[in-house]
């Protein structure tokens, strides 16, 4: 029966990490055994090829995301997970701009929503480039909110592993109701895109979701449990 050198020992031998007495044994065996000599060649080639693997370049968005998250974390009086803060800030800015576009003025102008409706209805949506742009911005804002919500949900899932089942269930029920509100307001917003009140309702639902999730993540199980009683 021929006993070959195991790949682990070959690796140690190649790296010069075998005890001196074993080095001689392994070398003699490899010199006289074609199978082990082949295994050694393959292992050396593998190590060289692995060393030659490149380091991929990170995407150019990575640093701005890190910087934004750090800046936001430093601005917030209490500490949300930093990556989330960037997403929320982004969503808030987009929403503010979108409201301004959708209402035909600056976001700071306090124009009643009703006053915009006849104007929007008078011009079909598909022919109004401003409204088309607004609709596209609204879509992007909704996506930003959804990303923030999804991130918070993932964080919450991690946090919840330490919670008692009763609180988890209550939080789950509350989230389910908030989800329903989002689904409902999304349907309203889609029914008449020219009416900005649908979008208002949708973003309000998103904000309630985010507020609740952020509160849950930030305050944790005991405080939240009391708040839900």
């Amino acid at each position: 029966v021929t006993l070959h050198v195991e790949a682990e020992r070959l690796s140690a031998w190649i790296s010069g990490e075998l005890p001196e007495r074993d080095v001689v044994v392994v070398r003699m065996h490899v010199e006289s055994c074609a199978a082990c000599a082949k295994a050694e060649v393959e292992l050396r080639a593998q190590i060289l090829a692995t060393r030659g693997l490149d380091r991929p370049e990170p995407p150019p968005t990575l640093w701005p995301a890190i910087e934004g998250a750090l800046d936001n974390a430093e601005r917030l009086p209490w500490s949300w997970p930093s990556s989330l803060a960037g997403a929320l800030a982004g969503a808030a800015i987009v929403v503010a701009v979108v409201w301004g576009i959708a209402r035909g003025g600056h976001p700071t102008e306090n124009v009643p929503a009703q006053a915009q409706v006849p104007q929007a209805q008078a011009r079909p949506l598909t022919e109004d480039p401003l409204l088309l742009e607004a609709e596209s911005e609204l879509q992007r804002a909704a996506e930003s909110y959804e990303q923030a919500v999804n991130r918070l949900r993932r964080i919450l899932e991690r946090e919840q592993t330490h919670w008692d089942p009763e609180t988890r269930a209550r939080v789950g029920d509350r989230l389910a109701r908030l989800d329903e509100a989002v689904v409902h307001s999304r349907a309203v917003a889609r029914r008449d895109p020219s009416d900005s009140s649908g979008a208002d309702m949708l973003f309000s639902a998103y904000r309630r979701q985010i507020d609740f999730l952020a509160e849950a993540v930030h305050r944790g199980s005991p405080a939240l449990g009391e708040g839900l009683r």
């Binding site: 195991e6 790949a7 682990e8 020992r9 070959l10 690796s11 140690a12 790296s15 990490e17 082949k38 295994a39 060649v41 393959e42 292992l43 050396r44 080639a45 593998q46 190590i47 060289l48 090829a49 692995t50 060393r51 693997l53 490149d54 380091r55 991929p56 370049e57 990170p58 995407p59 968005t61 990575l62 640093w63 995301a65 890190i66 910087e67 998250a69 750090l70 974390a73 930093s82 990556s83 993932r154 991690r158």
Partner: protein, 226 residues
């Protein structure tokens, strides 16, 4: 030379993340340079955070990409860098900055992976880049232009199939070029553990590549039959 002037020189040299640092510097010079950069970040010197990021971005991104998976890399790298910048004020210099950064990056990647394990199923569907190409074509059919990308893809695929512990050690040693002492500091394990894990990892990778039809000739770039 004032501290600020020193910082400016350093930031310019730091950009690019090539290897451990500028090749013209000795190890001691690199250590001093990195310590100065860390000090600048702690003091809030303008541009210092970004300089530190550029110095380590590729190392951190590559590391987390290979441990947590390419599709998770951006999120994990972001998390790792946030941990790094938030942790810097508490960094006491008990290890080299690079070792400490590797530790935070590895921890971020491993904890991410434990929270969100990679999808199961045929590996071709869950790996990225050249992997699918590599698995779709038998080695005998590779054209000269395909060979490097295919091999890289298959190697990456093999690495991705290793258990996390093996994969982490082989990445740190064979790809990132860390010594066992540094790996032991990163993973907070014994040097002997790092060595034994590395050899087991290489052996497992060899078996995986062999099962994938990759020969020494392929790995050397000569292709089948050469």
């Amino acid at each position: 030379m004032s501290v600020k002037e020193s910082d400016n020189t350093m930031y310019a040299a730091a950009d690019g993340d090539a290897g451990i640092g500028p090749l013209t510097l000795t190890r001691d010079e690199r250590v001093r340079e990195e310590a100065a950069l860390v000090d600048a970040v702690r003091r809030g010197a303008p541009g210092s955070r970004e300089a530190l990021y550029h110095r380590y971005k590729r190392r951190v991104f590559a590391l987390v990409s290979r441990i947590a998976g390419p599709s998770e890399a951006e999120e994990v790298a972001q998390e790792a860098f946030i941990r790094i910048f938030k942790g810097l004020p508490r960094f006491r210099g008990e290890s080299a900055v690079g070792t400490w950064i590797y530790r935070l990056a590895v921890n971020a990647a491993l904890s991410h992976r434990s929270r969100r394990p990679p999808p199961t199923g045929p590996l071709d569907e869950i790996t990225e880049g050249g992997s699918t190409l590599g698995s779709a074509l038998p080695a005998s059919s590779w054209g000269p232009g395909d060979r490097d990308a295919v091999l890289r893809g298959r190697l990456e695929r093999g690495l991705a199939r290793l258990p996390s512990g093996y994969r982490t050690v082989i990445i740190l040693h064979d790809i990132e070029g860390l010594e066992h002492e540094e790996i032991a500091a990163v993973l907070r394990c014994h040097v002997g553990t790092s060595k034994s894990q590395l050899h087991k990892a290489r052996a497992r990778l060899r078996a995986l590549l062999a099962a994938d039809g990759i020969t020494a000739a392929d790995l050397r770039g000569g292709g089948p039959g050469s």
